[in-house]
């Protein structure tokens, strides 16, 4: 054991000391206005309700719990014992490094204006995010402290890359993963999140719309209308196309699912795939993980309402019922097709339901969610069994089959289930202050565009990143290392002793 390497540790610390000098929370130094608050200033100042804050803090923790320990267990249990720690390590690393990146520049890239494709660096190092700054919700005049929003959105960024690891599990070098995560969030996740979720917020639109209404004469009207158009244009590209995604079906699930598919193909199959039994070492852990994912997912879906009100409870009920239906649906489909209902099938159905209901959770009616749940499982089932086996890619933990496919089903279904005629909420138009008129074809096409852009962005981005990594450090460990297990070889540990 040598301590001469200690000296090198100082470097990152020094680099950060620079950032540290920024008086980010000192209230005097805080810029008085940022995008959100400027716009809001035109209207009455939005108010913060502590009930919303309580719920959003809770929701952030629920999403964290999805990653650690939810994903630890759900993914880890499906691996062979010799690779268990590698998954815990990768997911743990991912959560930690993304947290750091998020406050350094991630939040800024995702949630400041700039271009329709990516934000800017104006909030890098959380510069200007003070105890006083606010973030908009989906209700006019209701805000939450911006740090709450920073925390909540951070947890989404933390878990998304970790979802991908299931696809190339048991056979990828840790150094490759170490490089992959920062590159992927930077070049894939932040842009997609910006494209789908960035907008000026209800207060800005409402104020601008009211200004139009109040404008006295033609010239003022034109000016006000131009201002309104500017506010409406201050949004991400997919958002502007009219695609809706309540809680991240595109940003999180399609994004990760497609990345997983690309990654598992580029990394290649596990040794022995299709020949040896690569049996899960603990389905108990997997089911406990599925349960924690379920519990945590309410932070994801019901938290995405950003308030604690009736819509939040609707998102909760939709999430409950779609999941119940998908679990039952997968169970019976497998029972019919394979002859036995398996617990892993039930667990897979739970996750498929959760994925599918993510985009429509705040928009659909409860019966709509029930049907969505029943429908999504058979589709994912076909992808995880027949299609995967036919095409021969080794998506070890079915990231594509469940998250990718389920996400696509959900994103498209959102365009249908939002329909007021089917019990959905319709889409609120903040310029008129009422639910907009709805046309199913238009909305489904908007959804398809959102899906398509995400698929292409994620697919191409992931491929490029992995190609670079494969050149720089390589993707696969040696055969011996893979045979003996990543844990002992890459991490010097074994998960279990007696």
């Amino acid at each position: 054991m040598t301590f001469k390497t200690w000296s090198r540790v100082g470097l990152p610390a020094l680099l950060l000391a620079t950032a540290f000098a920024l008086p980010v929370l000192a209230q005097t130094a805080a810029p008085a206005a940022d995008a959100t608050t400027t716009a809001a200033a035109a209207a009455a100042a939005p108010t913060v309700n502590k009930g919303d804050v309580a719920w959003m803090l809770t929701s952030s923790l629920l999403v964290l719990m999805m990653a650690v320990p939810g994903l630890f267990l759900f993914y880890g249990g499906l691996l062979r014992a010799k690779n268990m720690l590698s998954m815990l390590m990768q997911v743990g690393y991912c959560v930690a490094i993304v947290g750091i990146i998020w406050v350094l520049y991630g939040y800024s890239l995702a949630f400041t204006g700039g271009s329709p494709f990516i934000g800017g660096f104006s909030k890098a190092f959380l510069s200007g995010v003070t105890l006083e700054s606010l973030a908009a919700t989906f209700s006019v005049g209701v805000a939450i402290p911006e740090l709450v929003y920073v925390a909540f959105q951070m947890t989404f960024a933390m878990i998304t890359p970790a979802l991908i690891f299931g696809a190339f599990a048991e056979r990828t070098k840790f150094t490759a993963v170490v490089l992959f995560v920062p590159l992927w969030v930077t070049f894939v996740y932040f842009p997609v999140a910006h494209m789908v979720w960035y907008w000026a917020g209800p207060d800005a639109i409402d104020a601008a719309a009211k200004a139009v209404a109040a404008a006295a004469d033609g010239a003022a009207k034109t000016a006000a209308q131009a201002a309104l158009d500017g506010v409406l244009a201050d949004a991400g590209y997919i958002f502007s196309l009219g695609a809706i995604d309540f809680a991240g079906g595109t940003v999180v699930h399609i994004n990760a699912g497609i990345a997983g598919l690309v990654a598992c193909i580029m990394v290649g199959k596990r040794l022995g795939y299709g020949k040896e039994a690569l049996s899960p070492h603990s389905l108990t852990l997997t089911m406990v993980g599925a349960a924690l994912l379920w519990v945590g997912w309410f932070g994801f879906n019901a938290g995405s309402n950003l308030e604690a009100n009736a819509v939040t409870s609707l998102a909760m009920m939709n999430t409950f019922i779609a999941t119940c239906a998908a679990a039952i649906s997968w169970m019976f489909v497998e029972w019919l097709v394979k002859g036995k209902p398996s617990m892993l099938g039930l667990a897979s159905g739970i996750v498929a339901g959760l994925v599918a209901v993510t985009p429509p959770s705040g928009f659909a009616g409860i019966m709509g969610s029930l049907v969505l749940g029943l429908v999504v499982s058979p589709i994912c089932f076909i992808f995880c069994t027949a299609i995967k086996n036919a095409l021969g890619y080794d998506d070890a933990l079915d990231v594509f089959g469940v998250h990718g496919v389920g996400g696509i089903v959900g994103a498209i279904a959102t365009g249908i289930l939002v329909s007021p005629a089917l019990g959905g909420t319709g889409i609120f138009d903040y310029t008129t202050g009422a639910v907009a008129s709805y046309d199913m074809a238009t909305q489904v096409i908007a959804q398809l565009k959102g899906v398509g852009i995400t698929v292409v962005w994620s697919g191409v981005g992931t491929a490029v990143i992995l190609f670079i990594i494969s050149v720089v450090v390589g993707l696969r460990p040696t055969t011996d290392v893979e045979r003996e297990g990543l844990d002992i070889n890459e991490h010097g540990e074994r998960a279990y002793h007696s």
Partner: protein, 112 residues
Amino acid sequence: MKIVMAIIKPFKLEEVRDALTGIGVHGLTVTEVKGYGRQKGHTEIYRGAEYAVSFLPKLKIEVAVSADQVSKVVEAITASAKTGQIGDGKIFVLPIEHAVRIRTGETDADAL
């Protein structure tokens, strides 16, 4: 001296142990093993993947006894481990040349 080594179905352990103590054998060693034989296994299905599992859980019992006790021991095991269904297992008798009790250093028959 001989070692009687038997492969049996796991849930028969208590009965075999009782049968052996019944004939005065008071020591044995048990190992969890997996057996492959005529008894067919199961198919396990994990989402996309189906595996034929041909190795079934069995127990291996090893009993060291003096040569004259061998047939009694083999009979006792046969009787108590039998279900009459495929996969009941086998008994093998191997020679031992020497035995020692570690605690006392006693050897051979005294060591058992």
